[in-house]
Structure formats: structure tokens, C-alpha cells
């Protein structure tokens, strides 16, 4: 007899593995408030991991006690199991261990790999970029392609190519720099990291890829919003949209080797449309409803894990 807690957690995990990310990725409201949507995505990811591992643990440890804390205590203090331990208990415990170490291991590996790649990129760049005279935290890279990017980390680097500087006017350049600064200041790379890692860990789960693409797009939209707030010009939305279009379709753009650019492309279009025809911002009650839903999503598996089995 499976404890009802394990069943509830398993149902929650199934919902979070497929229907919930599918709905959230298809919803129209996230582009009205990217920040709230990013919070919701983090909650979906965390609650999903918690509930699937929790379901397996609760079922596997059921012979040792009626709640997870009780059973864990019994195992750790060496108490014998109260009920007979069957094969399916061992299978559940093994799966929980494998899944937990895979999710955390891939996250760690992903972090180590990106940190190493960032250091390498910074070393390569530091030999050829010049500090910018006008923008104190910005470096200039001599290259015809219009590119701008930042490398996050302990020593962040914000780089503009000479092609980008030539392509854009002063206001547009300020918009680009404000966008990249927003990425750095709000640590968007940390919001993305778990989704990058879990897409690599769970290639069979379509929701993992969908979640990653959605979070990537939302992070760009959030940086656009922050940039708009800091821009002085008369028509900041149009300035930023012009900068995006110039950078995306610039003459040197073809010189950059392309990889997953089809995905980036459609997201770029969505950003421009959103800037030119802004959707109305989410109302305060809707904002709070979404944030409370995210909080409850995290609370539910936590309570199920800690409460006595029923």
C-alpha cells in the first residue's frame, strides 16, 4: 500500500514535468511581466525536482516510519524497519539517489564548465579589447560584425565591437549598454543556469527544453525593460528596437558562425514586437496572484515531505 503522500507528490511531479511548463510556455501573460514569470519558472523547476525525488524517498522509506523526518531519523539512528522492506522500496530509494545525484551533479558540472569557459573567453578578450573612453565599464573590440555581449561572473566584462559602435547612434548604443548592464546587475546567468543544466540532464523531457527557451526569452525581455527605465531619450522603446534590428541584420552579421540561431531569431522578433507594440503591464492583483501561486507551488511539496504520512 503506497502512502498517500508519495502518490500526491508523484501526481504533482507529473503535472510539473509536462502540463504546467507547457501551459506556462504557451501563456501570453509572461511577456507582460517577465520578472514575475521568471519567479514562476524557478518555482516550477524547484518544485518539480523536489516532488519527484520526494515521492521516491517517501515511498522507499515507508517501512521505517510514517513520515519522512521520522523514517530518516530511524534509518540514521540504525533502527530496524517496522514493516517488511520489499523490492519496490529499494528500487524507489535507488531511483531517488540516482535522480538527485544526476540533477545536482549536472548542475555542478554545468557551473564548472561555464565558469571555465568564461575565464578562457575573458583571457582571450583581455589581450585585444581597449577600455572605452565614453563608457567606463565597457571595452571595445576591433571587429566589423555588430556584436555586443557581456561575460558574467566575479569580474564581469561588457564588450562592444567597433562594428556595433559604427552601426548605432549614441542613444542606441546607450540602450545596448543598459540592456547588458541589466543582465549583469540582476545576475540573469544564475536564473538560466538550472534550466541549461536540466535540459542537458533530461533530454527526453520536452518540457526541459521548452522551459529553457522560455526563460532565455524572458531574461532578454526583462533586460529590455530595465534598459528602458534608464534611457533618457524621447522614444526609448523605438531606440532600443532600432538597436536590436541594426545588430540583428547588420552587414557583418553573416560573418559570425551560427549555431542555435533559429531559436534566437524568433525570440529577437518577439522582443522587437513587444517593444513596438507593448502589451499592457500585468495588474497588481494578477501579479500577486502569480507570485502567491509560485510560493504555494514551493510550499506544497515541502509540506507533503515534512508532514506525517496520511
Amino acid at each position: 500500500m503506497l502512502p498517500a503522500t508519495a502518490v500526491s507528490l508523484a501526481v504533482l511531479a507529473a503535472l510539473l514535468a509536462w502540463p504546467v511548463p507547457a501551459l506556462l510556455a504557451r501563456a501570453r501573460w509572461p511577456r507582460r511581466d517577465p520578472l514575475v514569470a521568471l519567479v514562476c519558472w524557478q518555482a516550477v523547476g524547484l518544485a518539480g525536482g523536489l516532488s519527484i525525488i520526494g515521492a521516491l524517498l517517501v515511498h522507499g522509506l515507508a517501512p521505517w516510519g510514517h513520515s519522512l523526518p521520522e523514517a530518516l531519523g530511524a534509518v540514521l539512528t540504525g533502527h530496524p524497519a517496522g514493516d517488511p522492506v520489499r523490492g519496490d522500496h529499494w528500487v524507489a530509494l535507488t531511483l531517488a539517489g540516482v535522480l538527485a545525484s544526476e540533477l545536482l551533479g549536472v548542475l555542478l558540472l554545468s557551473w564548472v564548465r561555464t565558469t571555465r569557459a568564461r575565464r578562457r573567453h575573458r583571457e582571450l578578450l583581455e589581450l585585444v579589447v581597449q577600455p572605452s573612453a565614453d563608457l567606463p565599464d565597457t571595452r571595445l573590440l576591433e571587429h566589423p560584425a555588430p556584436v555586443a555581449f557581456c561575460i558574467p561572473g566575479a569580474r564581469p566584462l561588457l564588450v562592444l565591437s567597433s562594428g556595433m559602435v559604427a552601426e548605432l547612434d549614441e542613444d542606441q548604443l546607450a540602450a545596448v549598454v543598459a540592456h547588458e548592464r541589466a543582465h549583469l546587475r540582476e545576475h540573469h546567468h544564475l536564473l538560466l543556469l538550472p534550466f541549461v543544466a536540466w535540459e542537458a540532464a533530461l533530454p527526453v523531457l520536452p518540457a526541459a527544453g521548452r522551459a529553457h527557451a522560455a526563460v532565455r526569452e524572458l531574461v532578454e525581455m526583462r533586460a529590455d525593460d530595465v534598459a528602458l527605465a534608464s534611457l533618457a531619450g524621447r522614444v526609448p522603446r523605438r531606440t532600443l528596437a532600432r538597436a536590436i534590428v541594426a545588430a540583428a541584420g547588420g552587414p557583418g552579421g553573416a560573418g559570425v558562425p551560427d549555431g542555435a540561431l533559429a531559436v534566437t531569431g524568433s525570440a529577437t522578433g518577439a522582443r522587437v514586437i513587444r517593444l513596438l507594440e507593448p502589451p499592457s503591464p500585468l495588474s497588481a492583483p494578477a501579479r500577486w496572484a502569480a507570485l502567491i501561486a509560485a510560493g504555494l507551488l514551493l510550499l506544497l511539496p515541502t509540506v507533503l515531505l515534512l508532514a506525517p504520512a496520511f
Binding site: V128, R237, A248, L261, G265
Partner: protein, 123 residues
């Protein structure tokens, strides 16, 4: 006093410009306007060697040279940094990836006819 980063850049500039291996003393003389001591030059060269940008020969005195030409360095940089392959996307945040020709045209048309000005005015 120049920072290590600036000195690394200055040393690389000289190594890329040189015809053959350059001795540390010659580098120090070339950087005389910055008032750099020979030990500092050695520190910078060691750092550059650890990063794999500089190699030295066994002549006396040791000659230092850049491992790749400036053009090769730039090519490697653009390939590694902007290649956007696999999880490369997680490493840096790029303002916009390049889009295909159709989409670029669509975006330009959108910009030409879009009601963005009114949206800004309404803010």
C-alpha cells in the same frame, strides 16, 4: 603604475609586432615609458605563458614569442566567444544573435511601419 591587464596587452602588442623571439630585457626597454621593472615583465610573461598565449625558447637570454599571430588570435576569439554552440549560450549574454535574412527584413519593415512612437508617447 599600469595594471597587469594593460601590461599584458602592451607585451602582446610588442610580441605580435616583432619578427622573432624577444628577450625580456628588450621588452622592458620598450616599456620604459611606463617605468616597468624587469621582474614585472617576467611576471607578465609568466602569466601569459600560463594562459597559453606566449612560448619561450631555450636560447640565452630566453626569447619570448606569441604562440599565434594576432589574426589567428582574433579568429579564435570570434569562433570561441561568438560561436554560440551548445551550452556556449550559457557562458555569455549576447545582445542579439544574428537572424536569417528573411527575419531581418521582416524586422526592418516592422520598425518602419510600427506604431512605436505612439507607444513611447503614451508612457
Amino acid at each position: 603604475m599600469a595594471s597587469l591587464g594593460e601590461l599584458e596587452r602592451a607585451v602582446m602588442e610588442r610580441l605580435w609586432a616583432a619578427d622573432g623571439p624577444v628577450a625580456a630585457t628588450a621588452l622592458r626597454d620598450g616599456l620604459a615609458d611606463r617605468g616597468v621593472a624587469l621582474t614585472t615583465v617576467h611576471t607578465v610573461l609568466t602569466r601569459l605563458e600560463q594562459k597559453g598565449f606566449v612560448v619561450h625558447d631555450d636560447a640565452r637570454p630566453r626569447g619570448f614569442s606569441a604562440r599565434s599571430t594576432r589574426a589567428d588570435h582574433a579568429a579564435e576569439l570570434m569562433h570561441e566567444v561568438l560561436g554560440q554552440a551548445g551550452d556556449r549560450e550559457a557562458v555569455l549574454a549576447r545582445f542579439v544573435g544574428s537572424v536569417n535574412a528573411d527575419e531581418a527584413r521582416m524586422l526592418r519593415e516592422l520598425l518602419a511601419g510600427g506604431p512605436g512612437t505612439s507607444a513611447d508617447a503614451a508612457r
